[in-house]
Symmetry: C2
């Protein structure tokens, strides 16, 4: 028996993840450019599907796509004090261009609040110009020390929404609306259940009043921040002098928001659903939904099998793997590792009996089916698989979420398990939004992931660090 090219999850989760990414044709490390990756064909096709789902929702909520420069004058970052402090260590700086030393260096955008703030100041004069609702699809560079394909790379692809509003209420509504859009895409499209919440002040975006997020649980019980939506208050409005005349005729600073998701989502997708045989994709994000693998032995069989396979493929919108010089077994592995939801076996016996054998990727279940029923049943099956994957992930989230009523309990839960192998937990504990609490939790290599927007536990209680009363339990977990 050939050794599987994929390490077992239970043996080494990190290596399993890397194997799934490589074998799934999702990405590979670009070792010659620090911390970067090449997004390969299957990975990029998943990203395109995800982009389409997100972009349609952004447009439906009134946003327009624009494109701003990659390079930002270095001085721009210094205009917002928290922002520059947060991003300075991660900047890549262009000091030479066109053969000359630059008078003022440019930084490659680590995010675009500053440069967009500059243009908002030019565009916005009156309350009539508001709201301004912009989105940008772009690449970003943040010089990270420890990187991992998709989850944290020096360069990544993302979208960043940037909006300006006449008052704080409207801005907060926007922040929440986009958080809802992210949660919907995560749950309905990616089949990844999420918890909507607010970051602590220590964990918020550098320059925001408050950061909202969605947090997902990976198969090892670790948390992944899957999307963020920031209430920037008037911080950038003041830093970039984005003033407008309000309805009362007075000058005021705009209230801004920003929100983003990135190719990191693909890492979360992989860590949520894949198994020891490789990538598993929810049907809505599968570039290829179904593949027919034709099987033939004797001469004369081949033409008849291939002809029928192409006919069926056309009827049901599947692909035929008619590559020469590959055994059917090799073809099954090929598509399995790439996460194709349905693989159809089709040989001479099926040709004779008018049936076809269907294998679903999520459960591995096999069933023969009359060819005539396939076109009707395939979409239903894909819908069931999508739901099944969400339900399984939701069940895992429930099972691995536990309550803790003291810092000692939090510690023993987080330290007791071999989380990397699948024993991680979301620990729900009463804990205050106070830097002391964040620091305490970090001693266990965990963070306060968020304070949920909706209390799903048991209401108020005393902070396990400071003893002060808090509204509800927060989520504590080991993060990616």
């Amino acid at each position: 028996m050939v050794k599987s090219p994929i390490t077992a999850r239970s043996q080494d989760f990190a290596t399993w993840y890397q194997d799934v990414v490589l074998q799934g044709d999702m990405a590979e490390p670009a070792e010659i450019v620090k911390g970067c990756m090449v997004i390969k064909a299957n990975g990029y096709a998943v990203w395109e599907l995800l982009q389409r789902e997100l972009d349609g929702r952004f447009k439906a909520t009134g946003h327009q796509n624009m494109y701003f420069p990659l390079l930002i004058p270095q001085s721009f970052l210094h205009k917002e004090a928290e922002h520059v402090e947060g991003f300075s260590p991660e900047l890549a700086v262009v000091t030479l261009a066109g053969g000359k030393q630059l008078d003022e260096p440019y930084v490659i955008r680590p995010t675009s609040e500053t440069i967009i703030g500059h243009f908002f100041a030019k565009w916005i004069k009156s309350w009539r110009d508001l709201p301004v609702l912009v989105n940008q699809w772009a690449n970003i560079i943040r010089w990270e020390l420890r990187t991992r394909m998709f989850l944290r790379t020096t360069e990544f692809l993302w979208q960043e929404g940037h909006t300006a509003h006449a008052n704080h209420d409207e801005a907060v509504k926007e922040v929440r609306r986009m958080l809802d859009v992210y949660a919907e895409v995560a749950e309905d499209v990616m089949a990844v259940p999420v918890i909507k919440g607010v970051k602590t002040q220590s964990e918020k975006f550098a320059g925001a009043l408050q950061s909202y997020c969605i947090e997902a649980m990976m198969q090892n019980g670790f948390a992944l921040q899957a999307g963020t939506s920031h209430d920037l208050g008037q911080n950038f409005g003041k830093a970039f002098d984005v003033q407008f005349q309000n309805k009362e005729g007075q000058l005021d600073y705009v209230w801004q928001t920003s929100w983003g998701v990135s190719t990191r989502l693909i890492g979360g997708l992989i860590m949520s659903h894949s198994d020891d045989r490789g990538l598993v994709l929810p049907p809505k994000l599968a570039p290829t939904k179904a593949v027919i693998v034709p099987i033939y032995g004797k001469d004369g069989e081949k033409d008849r099998v291939l002809e029928a396979a192409h006919r069926i493929a056309k009827e049901v919108g599947a692909k035929v793997d008619d590559r020469e010089g590959q055994t059917p077994g090799a073809k099954f592995f090929h598509w399995e590792r790439r996460g194709v939801p349905v693989v159809l076996e089709f040989g001479p016996r099926d040709l004779a009996s008018g049936s076809i054998v269907l294998k679903r990727r999520d459960t591995g279940g096999k069933q023969p089916m009359p060819q005539a029923e396939l076109a009707e049943k395939l979409p239903t099956l894909l819908g069931e698989m999508q739901k099944n994957m969400f339900d399984a992930a939701k069940q895992r989230l429930r099972t691995n979420t536990v309550l803790a009523n003291s810092i000692g309990e939090v510690e023993s839960i987080l330290n007791d398990v071999t989380a990397e192998k699948g024993g991680g937990k979301f620990v729900m504990a009463h804990v205050k939004d106070d830097p002391r609490c964040d620091l305490r939790v970090k001693e266990f290599k965990a963070t306060i992931r968020c304070i949920p927007l909706v209390d799903e536990c048991d209401g108020p209680g005393k902070c396990i660090v400071t003893g002060e009363q808090v509204d509800r339990r927060a989520v504590i977990a080991k993060p990616y």
Copy 2:
């Protein structure tokens, strides 16, 4: 009368162009980042439509999208001698990152042959791995001295195809196939007629054996290179050691191609069709095809007019401009400047008579039409407009293409006219692919644009510079 915000073409073509771009919500200069622009909502929406048309054709011809790093180790560019010579003066260089001086600087990609060559060498081992057909959508930086929105900017968006083949024949077929795709999109989608040709050796891509191109004529008779497709031979294969075992079992270097079009196409689109009233978009690239401007005066009219306008809009897939505080006249100008193909006037009288007044952007023609016929007639009309715009551009290309039989004639044609105001020409002359000829033509601020693939003139003749026999006439014109 209010002064038009758009300078007349005949007065100053360059200022006209800039006014159309600004007033059409296409782009604005990002003066704080040298030579960059912000691509605004209408411009980005046109780019999205163009991307979709191109991307569908790339996929239909077997290409897969991938994404490679933005940053390229500086040493990579030095591996191909012509390539580094061509691009060195235009590079932006990252020397600092993560707070530290880098041991080896990175350049921001001016094009990706080198980094993709590196990965091809890892991926390609045997003839079975070939062809490799990759495309990338990405941003590019080339430090240009003189910039102009869309036409030449320091940063631009593009796609770059990169392929590897087992022999030169296949590579040349690919180069020609993609040139045909570009020509099809230019003519059928952008309504811009093009001449397919080969660049002279002086004008080819740095590192190519031969560069193929499509050349379009702008309204002032200047030429715009609208797309290029390069036969790279084995140059990059050798530079990056991309070797494979051929069917005969011997090691050989791959034959590569690369091909690209960029946001520059949008500049060409604007310069091909727009007029003194602003942007004109061919229907296939118009983000909004039709807008209804409701007209109402007396109280009570408004609700009925708006209600009917929204009903009609829904039936025909139009948009209603129901913005408050704007006169109908202001709204007409608004959409006219943004190039919307059809604007529909709809007031109380139309409500009573069951008609609507349709105004087409290309000819400015107005016609009343029964509301009931609109849904059926609108798509036909948009098709006619698309064809009309192409025909008009084709006619202009014919009219402004002239023959010259001596270098003196070329000079007098190119110098005699005030080309910037619309008197430019494509001069067809027998001229050899020889650096001396390129240099001679440059004396008139023109270049040899291409040697057409198909002779559309009068066959062979003597080079007007060297006196040597050449196959056919080449295109000489002033370039963007």
